[in-house]
Amino acid sequence: MSVYTPQTIEEAVELLATHPDAMLLSGGTDFMVEVNFNHRKPTEVVSTKAINELKVWDVDHSSHTVFIGAGVTYSTIEATEIAEVVPALAEASRTVGSPQIRAAGTLGGNLGTCSPAGDTLPVLAALEARIVIASPGSHREVAFADFMVGAKKNSLRSGEMVVGVSLPIVRGWQGYAKVGVRNAMVISIASACLVRDDVDDSVKVALGSVGPTIIRAHDAEAWWKDQTVPRSKEMFAEFGARCALEAKPITDHRSTADYRRHAVKVLCARLAARSSSR
């Protein structure tokens, strides 16, 4: 019955390797809800709190990439240079919970939980983030699409932890939108992230809460690329409808599948219109 507070990533993964029952704890905003409701009964905990290496971010303008450590909180993402280089991630972070939740909750925890409603995940999917993973003595990187493999399932192996994510800095508009019952403290019913790349006028769209994993609307993206007519209201509506066709929503306590599909249509049309009204 112990709580370990390692100072480095290497120490943390060593602990995970030598204590197979140990659970990782970051901001606690998912972890402790499960503990308080007896859904999780930790015997050994490895807290990431004292690992300063996880709380860093690094904007590299020469390689057009940004690295964000797993221990970076939502309130940090909202208030730092990260918000300038990946505005969609800041918008998504801004929608999480309440100030108290955003002060504690981390990007790494969102990836650890890997809920289809996780607000940063559509952004990571649309930007084709690389997830950086550590295990004793080694590092590996996987594409986001290979990291999230199901509802609340990621491809971490035992003894591994997320160190951070590596994202491209894309020139062009990007945004995140979500539907829920109110503005604050709401888990999304449907969400979408849209990223425009000015270099080739391509678009990338990822949908949250409408399938077991985050869904990339590849067909709608390809359709967008084929359009030669100037962007119009009709085109945005058609684009939204095409995105909705790619959603795989279910009915649950938060919403019906039909409403979710409708919400995807509206959100994607709206994001497309916003992206063009620069």
Binding site: S2, G28, F37, P99, Q100, A104
Partner: protein, 159 residues
């Protein structure tokens, strides 16, 4: 690396030893049930209501979501410790004056959240005040008197 069985928390500037606890206990539970600090209230225990808000290392967080044994070496301030000599703070006085308290269950969490806001931003807009307490649920007052109390503190502090 450290193993905690008996551990020590730093709360309102004092070191407090926690004994015989289970590893999964929340800071809220330890404050209330083990250390005799009942200021922070427990209602939802899932981060939704904010009645358990305390300061940990300078940020207002839900103490129900902090694993107590992981908060060793953190600086914890509860509603009891906002004023060093135990007297009422200006925010607390203003709540009383404006009748911003009915059942009082939400009050300690609101007081901590509002102190945190005003420490970071002495002249918040009305929207910023609303945003800052969007994680603190009050079922009684309808918030009108709470906003009035906060506006009064802002005005008095800037006078």
């Amino acid at each position: 690396m450290s193993e905690n069985q008996i551990y020590t928390l730093t709360i309102n500037g004092a070191e407090r030893e926690v004994r015989d606890s289970w590893v999964g206990e929340s800071l809220l539970y330890v404050l209330r049930e083990r250390l005799g600090l009942p200021g922070a209230k427990g209602a939802c225990e899932q981060g939704e209501c904010g009645s358990c808000t305390v300061m940990v290392d300078g940020s207002a967080v839900c103490s129900c979501l902090v694993l107590a044994a992981s908060a060793v070496s953190s600086d914890i301030v509860t509603v009891e410790g906002l004023s060093p000599d135990g007297s009422l703070t200006d925010v607390q006085e203003s709540f009383i004056q404006h009748g911003a308290v009915q059942c009082g269950f939400c009050t300690p969490g609101l007081i901590v959240a509002i102190h945190n806001l005003l420490d970071e931003n002495p002249s918040p807009s009305e929207l910023q005040v609303k945003e800052a307490i969007s994680g603190n649920i009050c079922r009684c007052t309808g918030y009108g008197r709470i906003f009035a109390a906060v506006q009064d503190v802002i005005a008095t502090r800037s006078a």
